[in-house]
Symmetry: C2
Subunit: 490 residues, 2 copies
């Protein structure tokens, strides 16, 4: 799979980022570029944001603010009976001035149509949306799901329309909140990737870059829609959500069975992953987790890493095959159908989650040290995903975003504030289904294969590969390009 | 989905079995019917058994013994380089007398070709086998896998050839061992189902019945190849293997966390399921498990049953959808490809399995009572599968075989002798992959949804439905038709 990570722009000045084996082009964003937006949006006077979920809302607001003073209008399109109408009006999108309307009407009166409704709604209704488009309208996506769906069902994007994607690497709420902070603090925002899937008139790259700058993305990297789809869907089933759930549940049980009381077991497992381990990686990279340990704990880390890597890699490879093959998408479609009859059960029920308030109350009382065993398991799983994505040819910016940055800078801090089960049960439906499906596979692999092997000697070759891994260089380069303001979680 | 459970035979006398809502036709087997075999096999003088795995071996030997004295010859066909040649020769199949040869040569010189190679080999090589067949040769299967595979890959059975299935409801070793016992003890054997998928010349039913009688099946029921495929593939992922693994692992952990020592936890979980619970159901049906408990324990059973039923049903429904849809088969195909590079990991590693010898040593020292909690979880899961199969229209004989009888009379006794993990790791590849995939899903559903809810009051409606369930009637009718000799496990 090839991915075009270098590109040129007729509108924006571009930088390069060093990555193992070469460079990637990167667009450095910022409000100083807003005067260039009309040029980037040439040919687009009407932007229609379809949907008012977290992403729809954030993107509509950011775009409107960034394009204030131009003659480019942003309108919001909602499904009939949508419960979001009141909130959209409260944010100044109204029927009276033509900036709020029926989704098909808005889609049919826009030059750039940004589809931000839920995956299952997109699956069900994309055909009527496509049919409503004016000739030459550009289709915008923030996620590769629809590409996977069309492939699986034998559909296609309507010919003659540009198809572009700008994918913020974080949750919708963060996309808006950090944009607002960026008004005062330069550099705040969520990084994005962009892709051009169809470009009938040659203007797609600059349009996508303009959209990304207008969202407030501090840095924008290039990928393909297919690559984005795979890394995103696999990532949420692995290190971002699914594997994290399997890690913390299996470790909690292990520590309890070894004699730890409930609070200690929770602090060694979940609290450790979302707290000191995430912070260490965010601040200083993956190797720093091990380097901060004393000699005895490094041995514990090494054995846990050694025992975990192969079984975790096996699951990531299985997930990847099934996402790439369309099998995973079919199971999502089947699950959507069943959900009509039986709502999705909550998964925050296991005993550990009743402890999170008690543990949270202890946070200010002392610094929790990194637990070496937990760290070995977590870092091995993260590295397994990194290696699988590398083998499959993803761009380095995407590998580090989907395997490291989105976890330690976005999701784990959120889980630290709320807890993992809450996180999983509040994500997109596709992510929830994926985490439910694969979390238990990781859990079983850790319990049945990895943990029984932790008394074996550490594998020096495996650990040397970790120490010398090209990802550390890529992560350091990406770290220089991170937003300057931490994701704040209220 | 319709299933033809009534049929007629020009050769064999038939019985009927009462089932809820009607009757099913059943062929009562036995050695006294062997003189009718040449009539049933009219048009077939050469039977080719392709494969010498447990089923291939058992069926070739049983057929040869049953057809001794007729002019119907049984030959065994093996793949080039097969390691089974020596064992086949040791059992009297030789190149010299034409009863052992290359698989394609044997397939091309047989009137009935019984394909008993592994699923993945069938998937890879069925086209060349089909191409080798003589006109009019009948294709015999013991499993619906190939039908699923052809559907998924757009292939088809070659037109003009009969396609029949005879599916013994037990492992290959039991099919042979009980046949041998049947020489001395009338009625010993493994029941089978049969299906007719293509019948160009009208002789398929009697040919299938003859094959089943010659295998030593005490009773033969009718189904369809599609129905067999679904119930078999779903069953091994649910109550037969996958769910059992999830049940015993999650219960063991629960009991340990509640303070039980290792041996007690094992005896309350795994040993209980494979021992007293399986024996009670086998001897006296499902309700007897609860009826054997005192009032206090019945309350424990009721709450565990109530908490478990819905989450277990949810997983069974998901498995069923994915098997029926072909999605599960795609994941099996992908896994086969990965196994080329990375062999399947063993799953017998979690700590509980190290205890099985100690627990086994205690068996003669006292009678282990049924654990009420474990029984509630197990029976609820079993009933969930029964209900899903009923809803999907399977014949009653198939429902009770795939959901109850194969478990309590075949697999659980085997696990009692060896242990669950050993069982799982010694089944067919398709079954192993399925158990690995879905066992953890059951485990997570029990831990995260069912067990947190066991303090809730029991659901009287749910338990009344269990008490009045039509399956008890069907199971009692099938019990009358069970082999008279228990499955012996050396």
């Amino acid at each position: 799979m090839t991915s075009t990570t270098t590109y040129t722009s007729r509108v924006f000045p571009l930088d390069t980022m060093d990555v193992p084996g070469g460079t990637e082009t990167v667009l450095r964003g910022g409000r100083h570029l807003f005067p260039l937006l009309p040029q980037a949006f040439a040919g687009v006077r009407r932007i229609g944001v379809i949907g008012w979920g977290p992403q729809g809302r954030a993107q509509a607001l950011n775009l409107r603010d960034s394009l204030a003073g131009t003659d480019i209008r942003v309108a919001v399109g909602l499904r009939p009976g949508s419960g979001s109408r009141v909130d959209a009006r409260a944010h100044g999108f109204t029927e009276d001035d033509g900036t709020l309307g029926d989704w098909l009407a808005v889609a049919g009166a826009s030059d750039l149509v940004i589809l931000l409704i839920a995956d299952h709604a997109l699956a069900a209704h994309h055909e009527k949306i496509f049919a409503a488009l004016e000739p030459g309208a550009v289709i915008g996506l923030s996620h590769g799901f629809l590409l996977g769906h069309l492939r699986e069902t034998g559909g296609e994007f309507p010919p003659g329309h540009g198809v572009i994607a700008v994918c913020p690497k974080g949750m919708g709420d963060s996309v808006r909140r950090l944009y607002e902070q960026g008004a005062h603090i330069n550099g705040a925002g969520i990084n994005s990737s962009f892709a051009v899937h169809a470009d009938p008139d040659g203007r797609a790259v600059d349009l996508a870059l303009g959209w990304s700058v207008a969202l407030g993305s501090p840095y924008t990297f290039r990928t393909t829609l297919d690559s984005e789809y795979r890394s995103d869907i696999v990532g949420e089933r692995a290190i971002l959500l699914g594997a994290v759930h399997g890690i913390v549940e299996s470790l909690y049980t292990r520590f309890r069975l070894a004699g730890d009381d409930e609070v200690t077991a929770y602090e060694r497992s979940c609290e450790n992953v979302t707290g000191p381990i995430a912070r260490t990686i965010s601040r200083a990279g993956l190797r720093a987790v091990r380097e901060g340990l004393d000699q005895e704990d490094r041995d514990v880390f090494d054995r846990a890493y050694t025992a975990t890597y192969a079984p975790a890699r096996e699951i990531v490879a299985e997930i990847y095959d099934e996402v790439a093959d369309g099998t995973e998408l079919r199971s999502v479609i089947l699950a959507e159908r069943r959900l009509g009859a039986r709502p999705m059960s909550r998964i925050g029920g296991s005993p550990m989650w009743s402890l999170s308030d008690r543990v949270r109350a202890r946070r200010d009382t002392r610094d929790l040290p990194v637990d070496a065993f937990t760290a070995g398991v977590f870092v091995a799983t993260m590295t397994a995903q990194i290696d699988e994505f590398t083998e499959r040819g993803h761009p380095w910016s995407e590998i580090v975003n989907e395997s490291v940055i989105e976890a330690v800078d976005s999701l784990l801090p959120y889980m630290h504030a709320r807890d993992v089960a809450c996180m999983v049960d509040n994500c997109s439906r596709t992510a929830r289904l994926g985490a439910r499906r694969w979390g238990p596979r990781f859990h079983a692999a850790y319990e049945q294969i990895a943990y029984p092997a932790v008394d074996h000697p550490a594998d020096a070759t495996l650990l040397a590969a970790f120490a010398a891994h090209p990802v550390h260089e890529a992560l350091a380069a990406a770290a220089k390009l991170r937003p300057s303001v931490d994701i704040s979680v209220t």
